[in-house]
């Protein structure tokens, strides 16, 4: 069999299989994005009226500016990847690795791996923890999900890039505030 035939048939197989996977993944992400927006709206309804208004305005702005921006945006999409955060609280000492993915017009962070103080690691259940609703490459805003005394809170947070491998995530929820340092893994 000619080498060109082998090459053509092989490339066809790869395109067919990997293409199907990407199509399915894209379709699934689009539907997740729709349901994700519904979820976010439910979360927003728990906020005071002025905050709700601010976030909704921000959403509208994002929808306008980011319409059909699923392609790679060099200015912002470098945030995609794995990020490690070290915690040193009474409830948890160790680190959590998050995976930030671009889904539709937002960036979502999912828990990826837990590490204890001794460095032992365990794969985490992929849970959406952070929704970055706006991000210009330097600063961003979003909703951060935290667990405190077995209660789950969705709170507003701000993101400040220190450099391309580090950013600060800060939040202040009725006096409960913290700043986390996220380092690229």
């Amino acid at each position: 069999m000619k080498n060109s035939t082998l090459l053509f048939r092989s490339i066809s197989v790869v395109i067919l299989l990997a293409g199907s996977a990407h199509l399915a993944s894209y379709a699934s992400q689009s539907s997740n994005h729709t349901s994700g927006t519904d979820l976010e709206k439910n979360t927003i309804s728990q906020f005071p009226e002025e905050k709700k208004q601010a976030i909704e305005n921000e959403d509208r702005n994002n929808e306008t500016s980011n319409a059909s921006t699923n392609y790679y945006n060099e200015e912002t999409d470098y945030i995609i990847g794995n990020w490690r955060v070290t915690y040193n609280s009474k409830e948890f000492r160790g680190a959590i690795v998050y995976t930030i993915k671009k889904e539709g017009n937002v960036f979502n962070a999912y828990t990826y791996q837990y590490e204890d103080e001794s460095g032992n690691s365990e794969r985490a259940k992929s849970t959406k923890t952070l929704v970055i609703k706006s991000f210009d490459g330097y600063k961003g805003k979003g909703i951060y999900t935290i667990e405190y005394k077995k209660q789950i809170y969705d709170i507003e947070c701000a993101i400040d890039m220190v450099d391309e491998n580090t950013f600060k995530l800060s939040y202040d929820y009725y006096g409960y505030s913290d700043v986390e340092t996220w380092k690229r893994q």
């Binding site: 048939r9 790869v14 299989l17 996977a21 699934s28 794969r123 259940k125």
Partner: protein, 293 residues
């Protein structure tokens, strides 16, 4: 159906399924089947010292292969996989059934090409000849590996990571292909039904692959799907009774000799060839290649 196939899955569940199939199959299929093969050898009065020592050598070569694999994995391979996944890959694929199934089929296709390369270039055959050098054909032969067998597959699995598949999923899929392959190393199962023989790699097709009969050389490279061989011109059905082994028999059950004989033969060949360029060409040209002069 499409909704089911594209529904996002949990890593914990996927890992558990692969654990049941990849890891535990040794206990519930492979070892019981090997015992059955030993009983059959005894029944046919073929159970002799050579077969027992050959099987022990197979397991020892697997141990050596595993050590090399672990060292490589810890030192560099996983880091390289993740670096490519984070810096040089298509958008990352979600974990769903379409991703898993396509990853297994692509891992199988990558295995076909890796296997074909192992047979068709000098350095590949120097390590893979170990697997083919046994004059017997049973489940223990599936564990007979050469010293570089852990390195070659890396070249072919890296493109999968670059296509957006999670490195762990790629690794689990590759092990799945290997586990399927293991089950094919048996003389107990004859030919299966036509549709199965047409689509899947079966013990019959894999016996051909291990044959030293001239018409069986470099045929049936497939892992799970024999359609790759049918599609790429390397298929051969089992007609003549298969004689197992290689064209230059090893005649040894010494595990060290078994593990290194391919590399030793390659070095001897290189030493006997004149010219630096020719010595390099021995590594990448087909195993039977010799310079014209």
């Amino acid at each position: 159906m499409i909704e089911f196939l594209s529904k996002q899955l949990d890593w914990v569940d996927v890992n558990y399924w692969f654990y049941l199939i990849n890891d535990l199959s040794l206990l519930y299929i492979i070892i019981p089947f090997f015992v059955l093969e030993l009983i059959r050898y005894a029944w046919q009065k073929r159970l002799n010292k050579n077969l027992v020592f050959d099987s022990i050598a197979n397991i020892i070569t697997f141990g050596a292969f595993l050590i090399i694999e672990i060292i490589l994995g810890v030192l560099a391979v996983t880091k390289l996989y993740y670096w490519l996944y984070n810096n040089a890959s298509l958008p990352h694929l979600e974990l769903n059934w379409v991703t898993i199934i396509s990853c297994i089929i692509l891992a199988d296709f990558a295995y076909y090409w890796e296997h074909r390369m192992m047979h068709r270039i000098g350095i590949g055959w120097a390590t893979h000849t170990v697997h083919h050098s046994s004059p017997h054909f049973n489940m223990s032969v599936a564990y007979r590996f050469g010293p570089l067998d852990a390195i070659m597959p890396i070249l072919f699995s890296l493109p999968l990571v670059m296509l957006g598949y999670d490195p762990i999923l790629v690794l689990l899929s590759e092990v799945f292909v290997q586990v399927f392959q293991t089950l094919l190393h048996t003389e107990i199962i004859g030919k299966l039904t036509r549709p199965v023989e047409f689509i899947f790699n079966t013990p019959s097709h894999h016996r051909v692959h291990h044959g030293s009969n001239r018409q069986y050389w470099d045929k049936n490279y497939a892992g799970i799907l024999i359609i790759w061989d049918r599609m790429l011109g390397t298929f051969e059905p089992e007609v003549e009774t298969v004689k197992y082994g290689i064209s230059e028999p090893l005649n040894s059950t010494n595990p060290i000799k078994v593990f290194f004989h391919g590399i030793t033969r390659l070095f001897k060949k290189i030493a006997g060839i004149e010219g630096f360029k020719n010595k390099l060409l021995v590594l990448i040209k087909p195993p039977d290649w010799m310079p014209k002069n």
